[in-house]
């Protein structure tokens, strides 16, 4: 199987979906001639032309809102927010509109838009090019939020998001773009939205996480394995709505649970994961549910030592896993 990197998986998924379905098109800032500031849409403009790879004016509410209109008509827009941090002006369109169109029209209209955005830190992006923004949207029924960790998942889930008949926020970890590589089949495949994935089977402790942190957990697990600690790793993949069943199973399996996010701790996705576990498998637990997250400060800073203090990394993860194993 060919090995590609995370961002190539994005580009391949877009390209193949655009080939498969004429209704699929891409819009956003600098997605055309430049191929995106991260080059996620590289080559699409040349292949599909400027009508299907639209450089829009610099206005996120319009990017989302125009996409929503086109989606209601029957198109399959894939809107790019240049950085997840800049999705904020589009919150009204996403929460008030996209998420509620099917429900408010009693199933008369629907809105199959995919909104892609690079999120996450570790790239010297400072306060406004490093944020995790999923928690802002993870209370909005009607919306789905996908946050893949591997090239394989990226490709399969992005295709499913585009084909899905409801709005999907597809968040790509920008640090993973070129860092994370993996095997991706040449044959066509898709992966189901709403399903978590066991990235590693284990018996002593359970780690539940998503995005780049999955890799930190896998690295740490390898080290701990040498010490005789076996780690079970669940990758949430879709962070809203959560795969409750998979979470309950994973937590029950070992009774010792570590939840990890790169986001600020309070109010993050993993709070909800903890709530699900404490509601459903309290008596299976052998240790308090442990959360490892970014500090509750606005976002990560620019200066390298400051960024490092905030940003999640394999050492912090390993440390927390070892603590839990020893509990």
């Amino acid at each position: 199987m060919p090995v590609i990197n995370y961002i190539q998986a994005v580009t391949q998924a877009l390209k193949e979906e655009m080939q498969r379905d004429e209704k699929v098109f891409v819009l956003g800032e600098d997605v055309g001639v430049k191929g995106g500031v991260f080059r996620a849409t590289d080559g699409l403009y040349e292949q599909f032309g400027e009508e299907r790879v639209l450089d829009t004016p610099l206005a996120e509410s319009a990017i989302a809102g125009v996409g929503i209109g086109a989606a209601m008509y029957g198109m399959r827009p894939v809107a790019e927010m240049q950085f997840a941090d800049f999705i904020m002006p589009a919150v009204n369109q996403i929460i008030s509109e996209a998420a509620k169109i099917r429900y408010r029209s009693n199933n008369d209209w629907f809105c199959p838009i995919t909104i892609r955005a690079p999120y996450g830190g570790g790239v010297h992006g400072a306060l406004y090019h490093s944020q995790s923004i999923e928690a802002i949207f993870a209370n909005q029924p009607g919306l789905k939020i996908v946050m893949p960790s591997t090239p394989y998942d990226v490709k399969g889930l992005l295709k499913s998001s585009i084909r899905d008949d409801d709005p999907v926020l597809f968040l790509e970890h920008k640090r993973a773009y070129r860092l994370i590589k993996g095997e991706v089949p040449e044959e066509e495949y898709t992966l189901p939205l709403g399903k978590a994935d066991i990235k590693k089977e284990g018996t002593d402790i359970t780690v539940i996480t998503y995005g780049l942190c999955v890799h930190f957990a896998l690295q740490a697990a390898e080290k701990l394995e040498a010490e005789g600690v076996s780690t079970h790793i669940l990758d949430l993949r879709t962070v809203y709505p959560l795969d409750e069943q998979a979470i309950i199973e994973a937590a029950s399996k070992t009774g010792k649970v570590l939840l990890i996010t790169e986001d600020n701790k309070e109010g993050s996705i993993i709070g909800e994961v903890a709530a699900i576990i404490s509601e459903n498998c309290l008596f299976e637990l052998d240790a308090p549910i442990k959360r490892l997250a970014g500090p509750d400060v606005p976002a990560m800073s620019y200066a390298p030592p400051l960024e490092k203090e905030f940003m999640m990394n394999p050492e912090k993860v390993e440390h927390a896993m070892r603590d839990l194993a020893e509990f």
Binding site: A62, G69, M72
Partner: protein, 339 residues
């Protein structure tokens, strides 16, 4: 010579020049009248404690119906706002449908009683579902127009909003996007002088809302919103332009909100009775009726026939909707996502 002397007393036939037949203008008037009568009935029902909420189009029917008739009602898409009963009636929504949404009943085609009255949407009639946050529909209409361009379809999209709402960022962003991409969309601002209690002078400092068009590189016109023929003409021109691939237009219609903002509002706090009364004298429903009478199209007989017909239609719709069932409680769990 005789003609010249009589000029001032003979009303000119304006609609023929616009290519409108007698039947069409009568149908326009009938639609305006029906919108008004349904609206009035809703207020009665509200004051009688039967309908919890009403938001009105009274005073704006001329603009709404004039505009709708200038569109292709078999093909074009409309994104109306909450006062646009005239638009949705012209696009095929029925009196029963409107009463069903007024009462919030299960068979309301707009939302099955999920949304408040005035939140229109009906796919089969190409009425795009709307919400409460104002102006979000503007980019949506642009999106439909983008689809028309991409799919090489001949339809245009038409979107309305109040003058207060024209100050939202979504108006600016949507209008600019449409013009850059030369999309077939018509932006119509129904300027009724108030945004709830806030008068025009505290909403904008420009002379005309249509002055904003130049900043998007599109034509902008301000039209007497009480004159359905003038609005028809402007919207027709904008629609033709859009279909020719020349891009969007901004049309401002000037009228007045004859009722309080909604059934929850008391407008006496912020405006005087005289102001409302003097606006009533220019009410498009009456001035258009006068025109049609003067050119002998609207006869006494027709008027009383329609009066009766409408009473029947509205009685029927009211009874039908009032006795229709609500959706059952367990339905609220449905249609969050595709099933």
């Amino acid at each position: 010579m005789v003609n010249v002397n009589r000029r001032e007393t003979v009303t000119e036939n304006r609609h023929k020049k616009l290519g409108l037949s007698d039947e069409q203008v009568l149908e326009m008037y009938r639609t305006m009248l029906l919108a008004r009568r349904i609206d009035e009935r809703m207020w009665l029902l509200n004051r009688a404690g039967k309908m919890a909420f009403v938001v009105s189009g009274q005073g704006q029917e001329a603009a709404q119906v004039g505009a709708a008739f200038a569109l292709d009602r078999e093909m074009d898409y409309v994104a109306p706002y909450y006062r646009d009963m005239g638009v949705v009636l012209a696009f095929g929504m029925s009196a029963r449908d409107l009463m069903l949404q007024g009462f919030g009943k299960a068979d309301d085609p707009n939302s099955g009683g999920r949304q408040m009255p005035g939140h229109f949407g009906q796919k089969k009639n190409r009425i795009i579902t709307g919400s409460s946050p104002v102006t979000t529909q503007v980019p949506h209409a642009v999106g439909f127009a983008l689809a028309a361009k991409m799919e090489k379809k001949d339809f245009v999209s038409f979107v309305t909003f109040g003058e207060g709402s024209s100050n939202q960022g979504d108006f600016h962003e949507g209008a600019n996007f449409a013009s850059v991409h030369k999309l077939p969309v018509i932006f119509m601002c129904e300027n009724n002088h108030y945004a709830i209690s806030v008068p025009l002078s505290k909403q904008v400092a420009c002379e005309k809302i249509s002055d904003r068009a130049i900043g998007y590189g599109m034509p902008g016109v301000t039209i007497d919103g009480n004159d359905p023929l003038a609005v028809y003409e402007a919207v027709k021109e904008a629609a033709d332009r859009a279909r020719r691939g020349e891009g969007p237009s901004l049309i401002e219609t000037i009228s007045y909100r004859l009722t309080p903002h909604s059934s929850d509002d008391d407008d006496r706090i912020y405006r005087g009775k005289e102001e409302v009364d003097s606006a009533k004298e220019k009410d498009g429903l009456y001035t258009f009726a006068s025109y049609l009478r003067e050119i002998n199209l609207l006869t006494k007989e027709l008027e009383s026939k329609w009066d009766e017909e409408m009473k029947e239609i509205i009685d029927d719709a009211t009874d039908f909707a009032e006795s229709a069932p609500y959706a059952s409680p367990e339905t609220i769990y449905r249609h969050v996502y595709a099933e």
